[in-house]
């Protein structure tokens, strides 16, 4: 996997899947390109029009809490986001990120400011903050999830192996 490079967009604690993919847009769930135009709208209006290919979504605690809607990480990925970074993730959202092929990194995001240039080396498990000249490490994924992410998501993983590959 190539290095992923982009700018940090900061969000606070407890961003829910209602912030990311609001319930009032329930009718757009079968129209993901249209839903993606509203990604994170209730946390930062107009986000879809300012985020650039390769950028990073940087949250606080419990980023992605709430509903199991996989549409939430899917439209973050569709917006061109390289990875979501947060102090912590709830389990369903974390699992969904990996399943849709969106890296989710657990890092103390206090150290990252809005607009910082970040570069992710997923293979080495390192995130460089080019603006601050700092490098952060993050916990490695369990093997079962690393395999899914390496294959590009759960659909590709199952197509390739026919089943889950835990080891």
């Amino acid at each position: 996997m190539d290095k992923l490079k982009g700018k940090a967009w900061k969000f606070g604690d407890g961003i829910s899947t209602d912030h990311i993919a609001p319930g009032r847009l329930f009718h757009l769930r079968s129209n993901l390109p249209e839903l993606a135009k509203h990604v994170l709208e209730d946390a930062r209006p107009g986000f879809a029009s300012i985020v650039q290919q390769g950028d990073f979504v940087v949250g606080g605690k419990n980023f992605g809490q709430g509903s199991s809607r996989e549409h939430a990480p899917t439209i973050i990925k569709m917006a061109g986001v390289s990875a979501v970074i947060a102090k912590s993730f709830p389990r369903i959202f974390f699992r969904n990120c990996i399943n849709v092929g969106l890296p989710a990194l657990i890092i103390d995001t206090e150290k990252i400011d809005e607009g910082d240039e970040l570069e992710l080396d997923l293979l080495k498990g390192k995130l460089a903050n080019l603006s601050k000249g700092a490098t952060y490490t993050f916990p490695a994924l369990p093997k079962a999830m690393a395999n899914i992410l390496a294959d590009g998501g759960l659909v590709e993983h199952i197509k390739k192996h026919g089943d889950f590959k835990l080891d």
Binding site: S30, E70, S88, I92, R95, N99
Partner: protein, 417 residues
Amino acid sequence: MGKTLSEKILSAHAGHDVRAGEFAVACVDLVYVQDGTGPLTVRQLEKLGFKTVSSPQRSIVFIDHASPSPRQELSNDHRLLREFCRRTGAILSDTGNGISHNVASEDYINPGEVVVGADSHTCTGGALCAFATGMGSTDIAVAMALGHTWLRVPETWKIAVAGTFPKGVYAKDFMLHFIGTVSADGATYKALEFTGPAMESLPMSGRLTISNMAVESGAKAGLFNSDSVTKAFLESLGRPAGYRPLQADPDAAYEKIMNFDVSTLEPMVACPHFVDNVHPVGTVEPLAVNQVFIGTSTNGRLDDFRVAAAILKGKKVAPGVRLLVTPGSRRTLLDGLADGTIQTLAEAGGIITGPGCGACVGVHEGVLGDGEVCVATQNRNFKGRMGNPNAFIYLASPATAAATAITGRITDPREFL
């Protein structure tokens, strides 16, 4: 060393002994989706090239969220789901049948089973001593197709609850208090086991309320032992064969043990916009409310409506307040019609909707206006949850909701008992 409930259930489904922290592939007994997550599951199954589901009679599609459909896009999603059921033989629980978690607990889930659903509140099934947990649409697509899923066996917290619930204080108040105590991410990845006299004495309706909200503390599952209450519940629904006693071993290894006593607990409220922003109702500003909503997978059962009806009997909803009453399932609606509960709520001024998720979804049947305040018996008060990011949602018990409907302000229900 003995086993927790999760270790016991997952060992039985993995085909070998598994312990907390281990990864396992476990077969699943019941898999379900709803109309918010199901269309994506159907499309992912197509992408994966699966034309059949592993066990059609244990695969359920619930049309409960935007149901009946308020928009053509959603009507077309429903068509897709119905066609999927026709093609694969999966069970269709269509509009009017009720909320997935309510119907699954009434008609399908048995103690000791593994249940996965494309809905975060699938953990509701833990009340019946099933290992029940929510996942995304693609995970559920794979579980439906293959009949198994991968899981990390969770560490377990034992939540030991002593005492007797005071008058006007319910399972919902305890669970809000618990979430306020541990916080919204305090129990992330953990399984919770609710034990002790206060939990053992709860009827199944109260247990379902608590298990339903386990995910609001971050937990993966929230389980109760399978006991005489479980047995009586299954018998009352004509499913006695599904019962088996099941409890954690006395020497099971818990990551943490938390002790609570409900004897001094007060009615609690979760204030906007977070479920762990919990305060005793008496300390919350008695704001004027625009809407009161009683229903959902958290508190949409007959016992909940009876509590509300007892408070509202012979009284009227305050002018300017909309009281929404949404039975969780068709069974709840029919039982509530038969015993007069629904009549009482309607006479008080309640608006009775068809069974389903109702206003909790944020797309129909009670979307809030800008600046409006709602007291709801549901499980989430996130910004935008009820369809408007400029509205304010307070979570409470059916009793607090009913008392609030009468006064038009957030009210301690003990004033009416």
